[in-house]
Amino acid sequence: MRVDASLDALLADALASDYANTAPNQNSGRLRVFFIAGAATLVTLVLGMAIAQTRIQASENSLTRDALVERVTAADRRVQELEVSVLTAQNDLLNAEAATLAGTSLGEQARARLDRLRLATGQTEVTGDGVTVTIDDAPIDPLQGDETPPGKVIDRDLQMIVNGLWQAGATDIAINGRRLTPTSAIRAAGEAILVNYRPMSPPYVVSAIGSDADQLAGRFRENPAGLLLEELETQYGVIWELQTVGDITLPAASSTSKNSEDAP
């Protein structure tokens, strides 16, 4: 049985051609042709208007988005400028401090203590042997739909890695070039992971400096964080890699992390 024939039969009444049971035009005068042309113009004018309308809508949407993107990048640039000025101010401060403390034995003592504290609180750049743990989201399964995929790295995974590295004997840690201090926070805001209140995007590179890189890597593999990573890989396909690296440099913490309690 022809499918469209049965469809036609089903719809015969409701969908009968408008032109059934009518006679065609007998005379085809010149005026009549223009009448038809005008009618045809009117009909397709609707189509043209619809297309134009959709385009206007789309361009308005992209305009709004572009404006927002522009504002975000401008704000980002401003933050970078401010960070640079903070760093220069910090440098000036260090120089002034060194000048003041030089000479006296009390000054030397104070300076030694300050240096120790600065190192512990991440206020100075450090260089040394260490490890990097690189972790990335599992490849997205196209069948999964747009729900949050289970193989996405979340803030808790990063917290575990960082804590595991501290436990394995790391002295200084940075994530994607952001130094962690005793007051640093690794948190989630919606889909994004915030480190020191700055959004990070995958892949996440956690760099750690320790006195013995090989020992650090070995201990990390065996402690709960390393086991968690193995589990994440086998269960969810999360991609990660542990490497020992010689001579990595971790930047000093930016001022935003020092005042993290005041941040929103």
Binding site: D4, L7, D8, L11, A14, L15, S17, D18, Y19, A20, T22, A23, P24, N25, R32, V33, F34, F35, I36, A37, G38, A39, A40, T41, L42, V43, T44, L45, V46, L47, G48, M49, A50, I51, A52, Q53, I56
Partner: protein, 110 residues
């Protein structure tokens, strides 16, 4: 030939002039689009059938748009506007399919 040019002129005019559709009219635009497509295919079919009649072409287009708009308007007032639009689009799309099937039978004998 001249009517065919009219079809093209309509689209080009709509695209170039970009007439702003008032906000209150915007819900009816999709309906008008489907009705316009239906009118075009119906006219093409009737030309092949040898039944084309310009009066019916104009009247059927206008009345289809009007009835569809009234149905959607009624639906809006009753709070079922989107469902009504869906119904209108379904019926007009079925008509388009029926017309295209007839055109196909004429042109391809299949």
């Amino acid at each position: 030939m001249i009517p065919a040019i009219g079809l093209l002129v309509g689209i080009v005019l709509g695209l170039l002039l970009q007439p702003t559709v008032p906000v209150w009219l915007q819900p009816y635009l999709p309906i008008a689009v489907v009705a316009a497509l239906d009118a075009v295919f119906g006219a093409f079919r009737s030309v092949l059938d040898g039944l084309f009649n310009d009066r019916i072409f104009v009247i059927s287009f206008l009345s289809n748009v009007l009835v569809a708009a009234v149905i959607v308007f009624l639906g809006d007032q009753l709070g079922v506007g989107s469902q009504m639009s869906t119904g209108v689009v379904v019926v007009l799309t079925m008509r388009i399919f029926a017309n295209v099937a007839a055109i196909r039978r004429h042109l391809l004998k299949a």
